[in-house]
């Protein structure tokens, strides 16, 4: 099916939500109660429709994408490229400003575009339960969608930065307005933390612009484009190391990596279910994506210098996240969402470890892990959402015996939980194994310590499973969730929830058995990336044939 599309598909997939926002804002609110209900219904289905079209476009991109072309630093091998001059001005004092509207994707971004489309589509369904300011909610939701999609398509640093900031604002409001009891604290924490990272990024971006003369990310990867005597000119200078660290911290906050992770549990605990889904499913990937797209290839020398430190921090995230998930210390206040939030810290640590190995296995595993963590954690948060909607609590100590009450739900939950502990036959297993195989070659000791999470992960996941699904049902949940049978006709999950969960479960199992549809996308780019980085980085030389 590979070929070309003479149609600005990336612009469409990115800016399609604008269309949705306009329609949603034009929907009249309705005068009486029935009218208001109808208006809400229309808004919800418009959002579902728009994200569905986006998903179709993403699938088209997937089908027409040619995996043989590597991308990374060669304009010619990027696909669906759109490149026009956007802002070209000569300003006093500042000099020439040359910003391009430059979109294009390669093997690193295609899986992310696909993931974003999938997650944004499925997260619409849990959003149907939101009743407060529906119009505003879905407008924000679609704006967030736009920002995320833009980040994964942009190849101009300035454009990237705009999308990066664009996604921040709706997220702030989505947590701050539709969130839980401590929503203001969580929202502001998220906002300011990310903004700190953005400031670092902005400074480095300006410095890079002065050194290279354009915002083109591809140009920045070529050392010969740096002007002589410019601040980032030359290799291995202190200022480059500092700049790399600034960028790295900016992205590490987003991942989030130890010790910059504490905004995540708060944000997750307070965010409404669909926003947690997007946060874990897509937003966290932007940090790691930024490292691969920007920080590592632009400053390969600095990456080489800090490589072991980064691998170490990845290991710490893995083990620390797992232990924190296991040890929420206030009995009675142990929160299901917090557990999953910490497990995200642990699972995203794998991504960092895999990237720092600079082996094809490790890096492919890392990107695949980004995709898998997106689907698996999205599913986990939706599962929490299902019981939270019914019981209005997420306390791990408040439940028990749900397996008996909700068998279908328990079956889907088993898929997500077992995928999260890396059970073979589920996608998470393959990415974790690839990461370990890669990183063992470069960092055997760190990898072995990280391996502890194989045991710890099983411990906290099975512990949560037992608390919620096994044992006896507590007194207060003995009866049906909804005695009037208006909102919940049965005790088990409803059709809407199934619509959101089932596709994810199918993806997780399918990719667990046959991962090639996603792995093939990135193979070319990953190998090219490693070739690019090779002169600067440490790659363990034990493996034969490398």
């Amino acid at each position: 099916m590979q070929g070309t599309i003479d149609f600005p598909i990336l612009t469409w997939i990115t800016f399609l939500p604008i269309l949705g926002i306009i329609i949603i804002l034009l929907v009249p609110s309705g005068k009486d109660e029935a009218g208001q209900e109808l208006s809400k219904k229309i808004i919800r289905w418009v959002a579902a429709g728009i994200t569905f079209v986006q998903l179709v476009l993403a699938i088209l991109i997937y089908m027409f994408y040619n995996p043989a072309m590597a991308g990374i630093n060669e304009l010619a091998s990027f696909q669906f490229v759109e490149k026009v001059s956007w802002i070209h001005a000569s300003l006093p004092m500042v000099g020439d400003i040359n910003i391009e509207y430059f979109l294009g994707i390669d093997g690193i971004s295609v899986p992310m575009v696909l993931l974003t489309a999938i997650i944004c589509f499925v997260a619409v369904f849990p959003s149907f339960g939101i009743n407060k300011a529906v119009k505003g909610y879905f407008a924000m939701y679609l704006l967030l969608d736009l920002g995320m999609m833009g980040v994964f398509c942009a190849l101009d640093f300035f454009l990237f930065y705009i999308f990066w900031e664009l996604m921040l604002l709706p997220m702030y409001f989505l947590i701050g307005i539709w969130g839980g009891p401590r929503k203001e604290y969580a929202a502001i924490k998220f906002f300011i933390y990310t903004l700190v990272g953005s400031v670092f990024m902005l400074l480095v971006m300006i410095g890079l612009y002065h050194s290279v003369g354009s915002f083109n990310i591809l140009d920045m990867m070529n050392a010969s484009n740096f002007k002589d005597g410019s601040i980032f000119g030359g290799m291995g200078t202190t200022i480059r190391y500092v700049a790399f660290m600034a960028l790295f911290i900016g992205f590490a906050i987003k991942v989030p990596m130890f010790p910059f992770h504490t905004w995540l549990p708060d944000a997750h605990v307070e965010a409404p279910t669909p926003i947690s889904v997007i946060l874990a499913g897509v937003l966290l990937k932007m940090g790691a994506y930024g490292m691969i797209r920007i920080a590592f290839p632009i400053f390969p020398d600095a990456f080489g210098y800090f490589q072991t430190l980064i691998a170490f921090l990845g290991m710490v995230s893995i083990v620390y996240g797992a232990l924190c998930a296991l040890g929420q210390h206030k009995v009675g206040k142990r929160d299901f969402k917090k557990l999953i939030a910490y497990s995200s810290v642990s699972h995203m640590g794998y991504v960092i470890l895999g990237l720092s190995s600079m082996r094809p296995e490790g890096m492919t595993g890392a990107i695949f892990q980004m995709f898998n963590h997106g689907t698996i954690t999205a599913m986990l948060f939706m599962i929490v959402g299902v019981i939270y909607d019914r019981a209005h609590t997420r306390g791990l100590d408040d439940f028990g015996g749900l397996a008996k009450k909700m068998p279908v739900y328990t079956g889907l939950m088993a898929v997500a939980f077992f995928a999260a502990i890396g059970l073979p036959g589920m996608s998470g297993f393959i990415s974790e194994v690839l990461i370990f195989l890669g990183s063992f070659n470069s960092y055997p000791i760190l990898t072995m310590i990280s391996g502890l999470s194989i045991v710890l992960g099983a411990a906290y996941m099975l512990w949560a499973l037992q608390k919620i699904f096994f044992g006896a049902i507590p007194e207060k949940w003995q009866g049906p969730w909804d005695p009037t049978r208006t909102k919940y006709k049965t005790d088990d999950i409803n059709g809407l929830e199934l619509t959101a969960l089932l596709p994810l479960a199918i993806i997780i199992i399918f990719l667990g058995i046959y991962p090639n549809p996603i792995l093939n996308l990135m193979t070319g780019s990953v190998n090219h990336f490693i070739e690019l980085m090779k002169p600067f980085v440490y790659i363990g030389g034990h493996l034969t044939g490398m």
Binding site: L326, P360, E361, P424, M448, V455, L462, Q466, N527
Partner: protein, 730 residues
């Protein structure tokens, strides 16, 4: 049948139980009781196909070659992940073991589980388990083996915790899975070392890599460590000390599950793995394996003596027997170890199914008498079952004889060979290695003792409770599997003579593969015999000899690589033959003595059990409390992890996040100060200007009188001033 047909059929054998799983998971609710029939028939067909495959392999292609295939699973550009599957002789035999026991357990459960609310789900899980286990059997590479290994772990978790309403059951499932994962961490580390060094997961390619002399990190120590790592995985699954603690707890699962998983198949997977990758173990790794096996066999036998729960006795007995198999493999008795795996699978499955039959009858009797407090598994509540359940008793007695190693049974053949192997090993290596046969024989004696204690207390004498006297023999669906398995424990299936297992087809077909490890790092007595020279044991070698050994390596490399696919005889086998009659004599003597002792204590009460208990108070308590391993782990590993995780959680909330919040407070404090500055200094300055202006304005206001005369005076004065000014300048 051609090779391709064998491979095709084995993949069908693998996938049919998965079909059973899928049918029962998705349509179980509608199928109800039919799900049991579907599951059982699918396994029946599977068993027939397994027989076809196994006989084709063992009869048509009996050589040591593996009928195998490989294919690319994942492609990462220049790096390809290749996996595959294949049938060798031990896989062929395992196929029969797994499918037959699984089929019999399916059949048994149609009656045993008939009252259960989640009957279809039970069959679904059995299907999933059988699928995973068959995957382990036919895997010919580390990756696929590891994948099915984990799947076996999860299906075991689901089946142990099948009655999840009971907290003890879900705890036991969790414990089993996590303990196994600890072993798997080692297994996976081993795989990573091998993959890093040889760039492949395939068994044969790894062995070829090892025999070419390439070492992980250029050091044989790491080859030993890789071997120990992989063995750690086997220790988890096969419940070897110190990871044995999960298996007795796993008895919380339904009894047919215990028979299938925790007696015959899953727990044998560890032994099977060690046999499968036997060629890669160095002498040091083998010593480690032998030591672990011996300790396991001995420790768990001592625990089994005092347990009062019917299934717990059998569970510790299983652990002990698995220890025997591992010990045998460790000392180099490859064939003996695998032989014992097969014979043990039949009689231990029979023992557990008989236990299930007893418990089922006890349950029914309790139900009948409206008693819900008596423990139906406590042997002190039984007694006299010989009369009420004659067929269960007969089969149980027979397989008990097999387990005790009494002549005319299969257990005698395999255990005898195994013990002879330990004697041969000790004689060849000397020194402290003599402990291995000593502990082995002691454990064998204890086996006979505790099995007859169990038989006598539960089946002989008078009923100890009313319930026991009200038990009835079970339906034939329950008895048929028992009888089939008992018959399979007769000697003539394995050897023409009832006293020597090595004359049988097992020893002809299950031949030890040549070690891939270069001669310098391997026991000399395990290497192929050549030119009749018998070099002394490894540890006797001096510095000078080391160099010679390394030189020999180069000569060795070619034949060794070749030898991995060929059977051969070695010094160990020769020595085992010498010890055969001694071992036979000793084991019959010890088993007979132990059985006699059990009769004296429990049947004829010549020796008072209570007095003996009081006399050996300390030992008895120690054994009854399972050497306090659970308590030890609780106090160290578990408490340590929990404490660490709580501490880190606290650290995260108050220190890491505290710093974040602190920086927010500092920023706010700073902004408060700047706010003050802003209010009082900057804004003060602004206000000062404003105030000054106001003051000046107020003063100046006085000028604004509103009288036209005053203004005219100002105008006049102003004009005069201007005129004066300009007149001066011009």
């Amino acid at each position: 049948m051609t090779h391709d047909a064998v491979l095709l059929l084995s993949i069908i054998i693998l996938l049919t139980p998965l079909l059973s799983f899928l049918i029962n998971v998705f349509f179980g609710g509608k199928l109800g009781k039919i799900s049991g029939i579907i599951g059982t028939s699918i396994l029946g067909i599977d068993f027939v196909m397994a027989i076809v495959v196994a006989f084709t392999k063992l009869v048509t292609y009996p050589d040591i070659h593996t009928i195998q295939t490989r294919f690319e699973w994942i492609s990462l550009g220049p790096i390809k992940v290749v996996i595959g599957y294949g049938i060798d002789n031990i896989a062929a035999m395992m196929l029969i073991v797994v499918t037959l026991i699984s089929f019999l357990v399916h059949l048994f459960s149609t009656e045993y589980m008939s009252d259960d609310r989640r009957y279809p789900k039970f069959y679904a899980y059995l299907g999933l388990f059988t699928f995973s286990m068959l995957g382990i059997v036919i895997a010919n590479n580390f990756l696929l083996m590891y994948m099915f290994w984990e799947l076996v772990g999860i299906s075991s978790y689901l089946l142990i915790g099948f009655w999840y309403e009971k907290n003890s059951a879900s705890n036991a499932g969790k414990k089993a899975f996590i303990t196994n994962r600890i072993g798997d961490l080692g297994f996976f580390t081993g795989i990573m070392i091998l993959y890093m060094t040889y760039g492949t997961f395939m068994f044969d390619e790894v062995f070829a890599g090892i025999s070419s002399g390439v070492m992980p990190f250029n050091s044989p120590t790491f080859l030993t460590l890789a071997g120990i790592g992989i063995f750690l995985g086997a220790m988890g699954k096969s419940a070897q000390w110190p990871l044995h603690v999960w298996l007795p707890d796993a008895m919380e699962g339904p009894t047919p599950v215990s028979a299938l998983i925790h007696a015959a198949t899953m727990v044998a997977a560890g032994v099977y793995l060690v046999a499968k990758v036997f060629a890669m173990f160095t002498a040091d790794a083998l010593t480690f394996i032998a030591a672990i096996g011996t300790i396991t066999a001995f420790v768990s036998a001592t625990i089994a003596i005092t347990q009062v729960d019917f299934k717990k006795v059998l569970a510790y007995s299983t652990v002990s027997q698995l220890g025997f198999m591992i010990m045998s493999l460790g000392v180099g008795g490859y064939t003996n170890g695998f032989f014992h795996l097969v014979t043990h699978a039949w009689f231990k499955a029979a023992l557990f199914l008989a236990a299930g039959s007893v418990i089922h009858a006890m349950h029914h009797a309790m139900h009948h008498m409206h008693d819900h407090h008596t423990d139906p598994q406590d042997i002190n509540n039984m007694g006299g079952l010989r009369k009420t359940m004659p067929w269960t008793y007969r089969t149980f007695l027979f397989v008990t004889l097999a387990l005790s190693g009494v002549p005319l049974t299969s257990g005698f053949l395999s255990k005898d060979g195994l013990l002879a192997g330990t004697l041969a090993y000790a004689n060849l290596t000397g020194g402290w290695h003599w402990i291995i046969p000593v502990m082995g024989f002691a454990a064998a004696g204890m086996t006979a003792f505790y099995m007859f204690r169990l038989t006598i207390v539960a089946f002989h004498g008078e009923p100890k409770t009313k319930i026991a006297s009200h038990t009835h023999e079970n339906k034939s669906v329950i008895l048929i599997p028992l009888i089939v398995l008992s018959v399979l424990s007769l000697w003539f299936f394995y050897s023409p003579t009832p006293i020597d297992g090595s004359k049988g087809w097992v020893h002809r077909l299950v031949v030890q593969p040549a070690s891939a490890v270069p001669a310098a790092y391997q026991w000399s007595f395990l290497l192929p015999e050549h030119a009749g020279e018998a070099s002394p044991a490894m540890h006797a070698e001096g510095e000078g000899h080391e160099a010679a050994a390394t030189e020999e390596l180069h000569h060795e490399a070619q034949p060794a690589a070749h030898a991995t696919t060929h059977a051969y005889l070695n010094k160990f086998q020769e020595e085992s033959h010498h010890f055969h009659y001694i071992a036979m004599f000793l084991s019959v003597l010890i088993a007979g003595g132990a059985i006699g002792l059990a009769f004296m204590i429990y049947q004829y009460k010549v020796i008072s059990a209570d007095k003996l208990e009081a006399r050996l108070k300390f030992l008895h308590t120690f054994s009854l409390n399972k050497w306090y391993f659970d308590e030890l782990y609780q106090a160290t590993v578990i408490a340590g992890t929990v404490a660490l995780s709580k501490m880190l959680s606290w650290f995260d909330t108050y220190i890491v996040d505290g710093l974040v919040n602190l920086s927010a407070y500092i920023t706010r404090g700073f902004s408060f100060i700047t706010g003050l500055f802003d209010n009082h200094v900057i804004d003060g300055a602004v206000n000062l200007i404003a105030n000054t202006t106001g003051f000046v304005g107020a003063r100046l206001r006085k000028v604004q009188t509103g009288h036209i005369q005053t203004y005219l005076v100002f105008v006049l004065v102003g004009l005069l001033v201007l005129l004066y000014y300009f007149s001066i300048n011009f």
